[in-house]
Amino acid sequence: MTCLTVQLPGLDLKNPIMPASGCFGFGREYAKLYDLNVLGAIMIKATTAEPRFGNPTPRVAETNAGMLNAIGLQNPGLEKVLTEELPFLEKFNVPIIANVAGSEIEDYVQVAREISKAPNVHALELNISCPNVKTGGIAFGTDPLVAAQVTQAVKEVSSVPVYVKLSPNVANISEIALAIEAAGADGLTMINTLLGMRMDLKTGRPILANGTGGLSGPAIKPVAIRMIHEVSQKVSIPIIGMGGIQSAEDVLEYFYAGASAVAVGTANFIDPFVCPTIIEELPYKMHELGFEHISECIGRSWKQHAKIAYSRP
C-alpha cells in the first residue's frame, strides 16, 4: 500500500495535501461540499489584529492559465477568528495552519501570540509576502533583514512551530530563505503570488480596482518549482509548496523539486472538490510510478540517492 503520511514540525499529516490560505476561507463553505476530515491540513485565510475590509472591487481578473486577485487580506480580525472561525473547525480532525498578516512587526507578534494558543492551530504561516496591501505584506518578504526580524519576533511568542511564506517577487530567493531559517523558522511555505496586472481593452484602465494583483494558478507553477528546487537544496527546514497545483501529477512535480507537502489554492475555485480528488488519485499515481511512500519523492530531482538515470526524454 502506498503511504501518504508526512511528519513536519507541529504537523502530523495523514496526507500532504491542504488548501492554501485565502482560497478556502475558514472552511465553512467547503464543509458543505465534502467531509473536511479527508484533508491533510487546512491553511486558513490571513488573520490580522483588526478586522479588514480589503480592497475595492473588482478584486479578481482572469489571465492566461492564471488569475489575479487583490482581495487585500479581508478578514474578520483576530477576535472573531478565535471565537467563531477556529471553534467551527474544531469538529474536524484536521490540523489548522493559521496564516498571520500585519502591517508592523507588532501586529504579527500580537496575532501570533494569541492565535497560536488556539487548540486546533498546529502551526503558523507568516504571510510576509502579500502583494495586495500597501504596508507590511510584500515589503517584509523582499528584504532578508526585515524577514528575519519578523520571523524571530514571532518565534519568541508563538506556542506552535512557525512557517514563513516566501514571496516570489525577489531576485535571490535563497538569500531570504536562509535569513529566515537562521532566524529560527521551523519551515517555509512557497510561493505566494507574483505581482501582475491586466488592462481592460475598452476602458484602457486596469481591470482590478487596485491596479495590480497577485498572479496565481497553473501559469506560475514553473516559477514555484524552480524556487523550491533551489531553496530546498540550501535550507534544512521543510517546505510546503504551492502555485498552480491541480492534479496528483502536479503534486509529484513539487515533491521532486523538494517540497515535503503541498497546498492547493486557485484550483479550489475551478473545482471545489479538487483537494479530495487529488488525495484520492495520488496513491494510484505513486503506485504507477513505483513509489511506496510519498517521502521517497521529496527532492528526487536533486538527491544523489535517487537512483534514476538522468535520461534524455
Binding site: C23, G25, E29, F53, A65, I270, D271
Partner: protein
Amino acid sequence: MKKAWMTVISQKEIARNIYEMTLEGELVEMMSSPGQFVHIRVTEGFDTLLRRPISISSIDTKKGRFRITYRADGKGTKLLATKQSGEKIDVLGPLGNGFPIAQLNSRDHALIVGGGIGVPPLLELTKQLNQTGVRTTHILGFQSKEDVFYKNEFSYFGDTYVATVDGSYGTKGFVTTILDEITPSFTTLFACGPTPMLKALENMYPNENVYLSLEERMGCGIGACFACVCHLQDDPQGYTYKKVCTDGPVFKAREVVL
C-alpha cells in the same frame, strides 16, 4: 449546491449575441428560488480558468431541465455559445439567494424591471409570481431593436413595456423613462440590470419595497474567496460587508452600497 455534468439539450441565438441554452441533469432538483445562479466551467483546460456566473432564467423541474440566457461577449461566453446539443457541461449550483417571493400573494402587484442581460432571471421570477396569483407588470430596457428578447414571454404573464436607448423599439430611452411616464403603483419592485439602473431605481423609490439583483466579478462563487464583497450602506467605509455570491445576488434596496 452541487457540482454536476449537465447535458446541453438545445442552444439558440434569440437576439443579437444573446443565447438561450437548455441544460438537463440532476442539479435541477435543487433549483426552486428565482434569481439564483449557476457557476459554469466553460472549458476543462486553461483557456478559461475561472467559472462564469450565469443566472437561471427558467426551471422545468418535471423534465429535469433549466435554462440560462446569456450574452456571448468575452472569451468564456463566446466559447459557451459554441456548445452543441449532447455536449456535457460542468455546472456548480444552484448558488446564492434569489428573489424573496414567499411573502407575496394574490393581493400584491409586483413591478419587474430588467435591463439588458439582467432580464433573464426575471423570467422565472414572473412565472413563479404568477403561479401564486401575484399580478406582474414588466419594464424591460435594451440598447436597440436587435437586442430585445423575451418581450413575448413576459407579455404572457402581464403588461410589458420595452424601452430602447436608440428608440428603434418601444419607448426611446431607459426603463426609467417608462416609469416616469406610466408611474405604476406596486407593492414590491424586483430589478436586475446594470448598476446605474439599479441606483436610479433605489433613488426613485426610497420608501418602497425594492429588491435588486447585483453583479460582481467572482472567484469561487460559494463564499470562500472574498472576491465579490460589497459595503453596507449603513457602514460604507467600515469592515462590515455582504458577499454577492452567497448573501446575494439579490439584496433589499438600500442594504448594500451599489
